[in-house]
C-alpha cells in the first residue's frame, strides 16, 4: 500500500488531488464497493472502504470521475491475481480519477482515441 499526496498512476488510471468538486458533478449512488474504473478484462480498480462518494463528470465524460474521501482514507485495490498494481491510499479530500486513452489513426478525425484496456 502506498499513500499518495498529489498524483499517482495505478495502471491505466490516474488519481489527482483537486481542491473541490466541480459545482455540477453528479453523484453516482453505489451500493457495495465503488468500482473506480471498470476493466475490460474484469480486473477492476475498486474501493471497499466506507465514507467515499463517487461522482460523474459534468459532461458525462466516462474518462473522468471524482471521488470524495470523507473518512480518513480510502484504499484503491486492483483486482487481479497476477501483474497486480499495488494498492494506492487516498487521504481525506477530493480526487480526480482519469482513465488512460491512446490515439488511433483515423483519416476523418485527427483527434480520435480509444480507452486503454490494461
Amino acid at each position: 500500500m502506498i499513500e499518495i499526496k498529489q498524483l499517482a498512476a495505478q495502471g491505466d488510471v490516474v488519481f489527482r488531488r483537486i481542491d473541490r468538486l466541480p459545482s455540477n458533478a453528479v453523484e453516482r449512488k453505489v451500493t457495495g464497493p465503488i468500482v473506480v474504473a471498470h476493466s475490460e478484462t474484469g480486473h477492476h480498480h475498486a474501493i471497499h472502504d466506507a465514507g467515499v462518494r463517487l461522482f460523474d463528470s459534468v459532461r458525462h465524460d466516462a474518462m473522468v470521475r471524482y471521488l470524495s474521501v470523507d473518512g480518513a482514507s480510502a484504499d484503491v485495490v486492483h483486482h487481479r491475481a497476477e501483474h497486480t498494481h499495488q494498492t494506492l491510499r487516498l487521504l481525506t479530500g477530493v480526487w480526480e480519477v482519469r482513465r488512460q486513452r491512446q490515439w488511433v489513426p483515423d483519416p476523418a478525425d485527427d483527434a480520435a482515441w480509444v480507452e486503454v484496456a490494461d
Binding site: 498524483l7 498512476a9 458525462h60 490494461d118
Partner: protein, 320 residues
C-alpha cells in the same frame, strides 16, 4: 412537462438497463418468429410503409455487403430517434443526449455481427430505458409502435433488407462479448450460428478467421498493409508492437531517464504513415506501447496526453 433531469436513483438504474440490454441482445435461444414478424408488420403499418416480403435466415452467411440496404435507412434511422424522444415533449434534449451517450456502445455491441448500419439500436435502447426502466409516460400512438419494436429487437437476431425482401435473421447459438458488449474472442470464433456459419471478432472488429485462430502465422507485413484500417489496428494489438518493430524501423524522439515515463518513438508504417508511440514501463514490470498524436514531442507529454493532462501536470509520485 418533459423530463429535464435524472435523479441519482434513475441514473443508477441506467447501468441495470445497460446490463439487461446486453444480455437481451446476446441471447442464443431460437428467435421468437411470431413476435418478430408481428412487430415488423406493425412498424410498417404505423409509418405507412409498404410491407415487404419477410424471409428468415439462420445466419448472415453469404450476404454481399454491397447488396443489402439497411431496413432502418428508410424506417428506423429516420423516424425512430425523433419518435423515441417524442420531439422533446417527453424527454428534454440534454437528458436524452446524456442517456444516449451512456448507452451508445452497449446498445449496438452484441449485434455488430449483423449486416448494415445499426445506429437505430441506440435511440431504441434509450427509449427502452425511459419507457421500461423509468416508466416515463409516452403518448399512446408513439409507445404502441416503439413498444412492439422493443419486443421485436429481442425476438430476432438481425434485420436487413435485400432488394424488396426484409430479411430476418435467427439469433446466434454462441456469442462471446468483451466488457463493452462487443463480439470478441482471442482464440476462436466470437459468433456461431445454427447453420454452422461463424465469425471472428477482436473487440468488435471483424477479423479474418486465420488471424485469430493461428496468430503465430500472422506476419507484421500482412497486418500493416491490410486495407481495412480497423483490422490494421486490431492486428497490431494481436501480434504486439515488438513484432512490428522487427520489420519497421523505429526512431527515438525522446527518452526520459525514468523508465516509468519511458520513450517516445516514431515509426513509419506502410499505410498509416508516421506514427508516434510511447513505450513505457508499468509498476508491475510490464512494458506498454501506446499510440499518441503526432504533435507530441516528449515522453512526458505523451504520458500526460494519455490521461488527458498537460505535460507539466503529469508528475506522478508513483506508478504502480
Amino acid at each position: 412537462m418533459p423530463l429535464t433531469a435524472l435523479t441519482p436513483e434513475q441514473r443508477a438504474s441506467l447501468s441495470v438497463w445497460r446490463s439487461y440490454w446486453l444480455r437481451t441482445l446476446a441471447r442464443t435461444s431460437p428467435a421468437d418468429r411470431k413476435n418478430a414478424e408481428r412487430a415488423v408488420r406493425m412498424v410498417h403499418d404505423a409509418w405507412h410503409d409498404p410491407l415487404p416480403r419477410l424471409r428468415w435466415v439462420d445466419s448472415p452467411r453469404g450476404v454481399d455487403p454491397t447488396s443489402w440496404t439497411n431496413i432502418g435507412q428508410s424506417l428506423l434511422v429516420r423516424r425512430l430517434p425523433t419518435a423515441a424522444q417524442a420531439h422533446g415533449e417527453v424527454i428534454s434534449g440534454p437528458v436524452w443526449v446524456s442517456v444516449q451517450l451512456a448507452l451508445a456502445r452497449a446498445a449496438v455491441g452484441p449485434r455488430l455481427w449483423a449486416p448494415g448500419p445499426l445506429d437505430w439500436l441506440v435511440p431504441l435502447s434509450t427509449y427502452g430505458f425511459f419507457r421500461v426502466a423509468l416508466g416515463v409516460p409516452y403518448p399512446e400512438h408513439i409507445s404502441r409502435t416503439l413498444d412492439s419494436w422493443l419486443v421485436a429487437v429481442r425476438a430476432f437476431g438481425g434485420l436487413w433488407r435485400q432488394e424488396e425482401t426484409c430479411v430476418l435473421c435467427e439469433r446466434p447459438i454462441d456469442i462471446h462479448l468483451d466488457a463493452d458488449g462487443r463480439p470478441h474472442h482471442e482464440s476462436g470464433a466470437a459468433v456461431r450460428f445454427r447453420d454452422g456459419f461463424d465469425m471472428y471478432f477482436w473487440h468488435g472488429t471483424r477479423m479474418p478467421p486465420e488471424w485469430i485462430a493461428t496468430p503465430h502465422l500472422l506476419t507484421p507485413d500482412l497486418v500493416l498493409t491490410t486495407g481495412n484500417a480497423a483490422q490494421r489496428i486490431a492486428g497490431v494489438e494481436l501480434i504486439g508492437w515488438p513484432r512490428v518493430l522487427e520489420v519497421v524501423k523505429a526512431f527515438t524522439i525522446d527518452q526520459d531517464a525514468d523508465p516509468q515515463i519511458g520513450e517516445l518513438l516514431e515509426v513509419d508504417l506502410p499505410v498509416d504513415g508516421p506514427t508516434r508511440l510511447l513505450r513505457v514501463l508499468c509498476g508491475t514490470g510490464r512494458v506498454f506501447w501506446l499510440r499518441v498524436p503526432r504533435h507530441i514531442q516528449t515522453a512526458r507529454a505523451a504520458n500526460a496526453w494519455t490521461y488527458g493532462l498537460r505535460p507539466e501536470e503529469y508528475r506522478p509520485e508513483i506508478r504502480t
